[in-house]
Subunit: 344 residues, 2 copies
């Protein structure tokens, strides 16, 4: 059992930062559009990207793609073990296969041998949609079935002397996903978290945030992939927000802002929207508190670097580390806070 694995230039697992993954949805055979999407993903904060590879023709394109970016690439293989072998030889940094459809032991052995020869890890990517029949007959399709399927296929790799393993077992049901990974924790292998087919837009983001976040909050999970129908850049933005929400990504400007209520006598939302834009490129830890009234600030904002809270008659207070340092008119809040950001 290896508690860390190396995927190209990135190490994931115990003691290492949680890595963000996504997947291209361009045609893998189309070098230019796939390269463009890979670079966009990397620049949005994606650490590792996966590509579906479905033909030997695509493997040839991938030989160039793996050289087109410094981001490690992972080949996603369904059905055909020969593609997995070819991808291991083509420069991919990891192979993901679905044990439910890769075929018998002799085929898995060939993939293992190719990955060993190339020094790259394998992700055993179990999916509730393609469980072995013997497992679903015995355990159904829930968390027990997913966990047993993982154990069976990890056991097979171990039998072949292969321990450089990442494990995933995704369900489109959030509760099942959480239960499954809690069961998998005891395996000790590196865990790749995700809710599969979580869907579209806000509903999908919330499904992924709960599934992934409920595990990360207990220290379960080493790398995450948010699955969203549509542009994969949205997956990376959501994944980064999940890491920020849990303090796993600290090098950014956090704006803690209250929902406002009748007590708030100025346009807090507008100020927060402007500050969100203004601070978007800050890459070190900064915490700003934006409070509608004195009920929440400065007390609630004790650990903010600085912040503001509205008062009566169009006034506001500016505070630093929980202490009021200045009184200003509400329309002076934004320039005052921007000035402090610039100084910072």
């Amino acid at each position: 059992m290896n508690s860390t694995v190396k995927i190209g230039n990135i190490i994931i697992g115990r003691g290492y930062p949680v890595a963000v993954q996504s997947m291209t949805n361009t045609d893998t055979a189309d070098y230019e559009s796939t390269k463009t999407q890979l670079l966009a993903l990397q620049s949005a904060g994606c650490d590792i990207a996966r590509l579906a590879v479905t033909s030997m023709k695509e493997v040839e394109v991938c030989k160039k793609l793996v050289l087109s970016t410094t981001m490690p690439l992972v080949a996603d293989i369904q059905f055909d073990y020969r593609l997995a072998v070819a991808c291991a030889d083509a420069g991919f940094a990891k192979i993901r296969f679905n044990p439910g459809n890769i075929g018998d032991e002799s085929k898995v052995k060939k993939v293992v041998d190719a990955c060993k020869a190339n020094g790259i890890p394998i992700r055993v990517g179990v999916n509730s949609g393609s469980l072995d029949k013997d497992i679903s007959a015995k355990y159904g399709f829930g968390a027990d079935a997913l966990a047993e399927s993982v154990k069976k296929h990890v056991g097979l790799l171990e039998k072949f002397g292969f321990y450089d393993i990442v494990v995933s077992a995704k369900s489109s049901d959030v509760g099942t996903t959480v239960d499954t990974y809690r069961k998998l924790k005891s395996l000790g292998y590196v865990l790749h978290l995700g809710v599969t087919e979580s869907g579209y837009s806000q509903a999908g983001i919330i499904k992924s945030a709960i599934g992934i976040g409920s595990l990360l909050v207990d220290g379960i999970g080493d790398t995450i992939r948010v699955s969203l129908t549509g542009d994969p850049l949205n997956e990376v933005y959501a994944a980064k927000n999940i890491l920020k929400a849990l303090g796993l990504e600290k090098n950014y400007c956090e704006i803690v802002s209250c929902p406002t209520c009748s007590r708030c006598k100025y346009d807090l939302e507008k100020i927060v929207a402007e500050l969100t834009d203004y601070t978007e490129n800050i890459k070190k830890p900064l915490k700003i508190a934006a409070m509608g009234c004195v009920v929440n600030g400065p007390g609630e904002a004790r650990d903010a670097d600085f912040g503001f809270a509205g008062g009566d008659n169009g006034t506001a207070v500016i505070f630093e580390k929980g202490k009021v340092v200045k009184r200003v008119d509400a329309d002076e809040i934004l320039p005052e806070i921007k000035r402090r950001i610039d100084e910072y």
Copy 2:
């Protein structure tokens, strides 16, 4: 200890559905705009709404507001116990006060007496920004401090023979929120969940989704409030999506859709976007699977009522309960699925 409480016409607690709460951010003294916002919240799916009440003049307006909607209203009181007493007499269905700033025992006793006389519950709404000094001196500002503060103030209400209690203890830190409510579970009282000042836009939605969802997934929590800077309708939409993600709200059309990858040869996102709009008003359980290719469907979509998956050469399959029932061209998917929705 009461494991359920009645808030107007809604019962929350053990065995009852998780209720969605939000809070107005209009000026409570402005009857028309507050009434308009309350009706909008109710129509978006809000079960219970809270209003900040800060003056006796506002209490007078609230006497009319509580009659303007069938949705139970909660008075949010900071600092002044006399407002809490007046609100209990004014027709509010619950009083929330912040024990950190309501004052000494004799004042709390007066609020308790007024709530008893009116047969309404109290929410003890502890907030990390306004902890008692003796508690923060001993426990700091983390989960232990929040939980101890709740216990102290619940104990005070119990001393006055009052058990009709809802408890909350919110932090703007997701991990602290989760730890705190896990500690509070053993109290047995009805729990109101939320991450306070969770912020703005997607970052705030994700913070709230993880904080609230991590607890609900373990059956902790009876009512939820998503806090977002801006229009409170967004809080209700996000709260509903949290409940849907966890299967706690079933009367809607769930669309399980894959993120697409190179294997997907048609415009799945466009179809999913159209289906999302088309099914938005369905109020009974329906599950539709939208899959890019046969890797995920129909296997992954075994429990969907019906769905579709792309195939080669611009074709697709339509399936029902995991069985392929029809082959169509990709551009016939949408009319075919809409027809099935209409029949359903």
